[in-house]
């Protein structure tokens, strides 16, 4: 009788642990399994002549590998206006964490010069920078990009349903 009780007890403990693990995994997986939302797009100003860029080219550009458009350097800008957006960009386009990205770009600049992409924490300064220089580009949510007629979508970097 006692043995059966202890078996029942151990089964319920196991079940409890399983449920707990499932809940914890569910909690943990939230930041990694990026929730469905608007797509991530690459944008520039309406007046820009920057053509279609592949995700591979965008990755190289943000790592500091120079790229030219009509003889002028394309300047990538980092959009830090939304922490989640930044995380999506790092995970889905750069395939690395933000600290790893920072180390790699610092190392590259120290090695061969050039500049790291400037960081914009606010959306308005970022939009102003895009408008001021037609050789700049950045990434943002598609609904945000569509809400600003002065912007042009170059390509979709990541689809939310992917």
């Amino acid at each position: 009788m006692e043995r059966r009780l202890s078996m029942k007890c151990s089964l319920s403990i196991k079940r409890g642990l399983l449920i707990l693990s499932w809940c914890l995994l569910g909690q943990l997986s939230v930041p990694f399994a990026l929730a469905a939302g608007p797509d991530l797009v690459l944008v520039t100003s309406k007046t820009s002549t920057i053509g279609l860029l592949t995700t591979d080219e965008v990755r190289k550009l943000y790592l500091g590998i120079p790229m030219f458009n009509e003889g002028q350097t394309i300047k990538p800008l980092l959009n830090y206006s939304d922490g989640y957006l930044q995380e999506v960009f790092m995970q889905k386009v750069m395939f690395m964490s933000t600290p790893a990205y920072q180390r790699q770009t610092l190392s590259r600049v120290f090695r061969i010069g050039g500049n790291r992409p400037p960081i914009y924490v606010g959306l308005h300064p970022l939009l102003n920078a895009l408008k001021a220089d037609s050789k700049t580009l950045t990434y943002m949510y598609s609904d945000e990009a569509n809400a600003h007629p002065e912007l042009k979508i170059i390509s979709t970097l990541w689809k939310a349903q992917d």
Binding site: I65, Q72, T73, K75, L106, V109, F110, G113, G114, N115
Partner: protein
Amino acid sequence: MHNRSFFSLALILATLCCLPTIVLAYEGEFLLFPTLTGLHSTAPTMDRPQDKVEPSLDVFYSASHERFRFLAEYVTSPDHNMMERLQIGWLPTASSTLWLGRFHNPLGYWNTEFHHGSYLTTTISRPSVISFEEHGGNILPMHLNGLLLEGTTASPFSYSVAMGMGPKLEKVGLTPAKTLHPSNNHNQLSATARLVYKPQEDKMNELGIFAAHTRIPTEDIVMYMSMGSPLLTGITQNLVGAEVNHEFGDLRWIGEWYIVNNRLEAANTTVSHFFTSGYLQIDYSIRTNWILFGRVEDTARAKGDPYLDLRPEFIKSRTLAGVRYAVNRNQALKFELSHSEHQDQTKSRQVAIEWSAAFP
């Protein structure tokens, strides 16, 4: 001699003339790499006392404007102050840069990747085969003054070709050409070529080969021979080498191997000898902020090498291990234990601890 002075002066003038153009467009990076190193050694040398606390500051500035680049690195410490790099570059294509100025000789992986920023390296010490000129026991030219062309080809290969004034050998050791005092230079031409296979341009893995030819003038240096000690008139150094940097998972391997031939010339005699030297370093990330590392360095045919005998402090073999802890985004603490054997047969153990950072 006049030609060399003129060349150095032209280099500085060209840099200064182009600087305002670049600065006007202002896209610059100003970086500070402060380092504080504490050392305890069981066998002190002239260059390194038993206990030493050495602060240093690496000031780096880089600017770019369209197809132009400017880069300057100045290192200051109680022992030496030096303009380590002063380069002006032009990008003929998106994947190539032509540099004019003082730059790091593109010898192998370490010297081209890490430069003087200790924060970026896992270990505290550099491998001895590529130690800097300002440190005792340096044997290869780490800096050149002249032209450097580097870039990538359409295939997954990148290249570097450098030509410039190399070092001269004085009693204190190899002395690179002085960028800021061009009239004092008596250095001669040096050339280096490096070819690297990099399967993915945006990844760090690479495999490379390199070769260099350096003519090293000497100043009041005598060669140690059984038949006397003739005064050296010059040294011709030729080397070939291979390098690897490979990362998989939490492991990173860095290795370099050098075959170095030196022809020492005196008035009535010439001696030629070669040695090989290399190292293998393994970094293992145990957690996000912690890296364990170990390195083995060794030199073959060092005994009786007439060139290495001129550099008794050269570390011909070393085993080291340590740990690097990233305190935060831009600061690191390192601890390193090493056991070394020098060219003069002295053996030493060393404990080193270092704080390093990169600002901003």
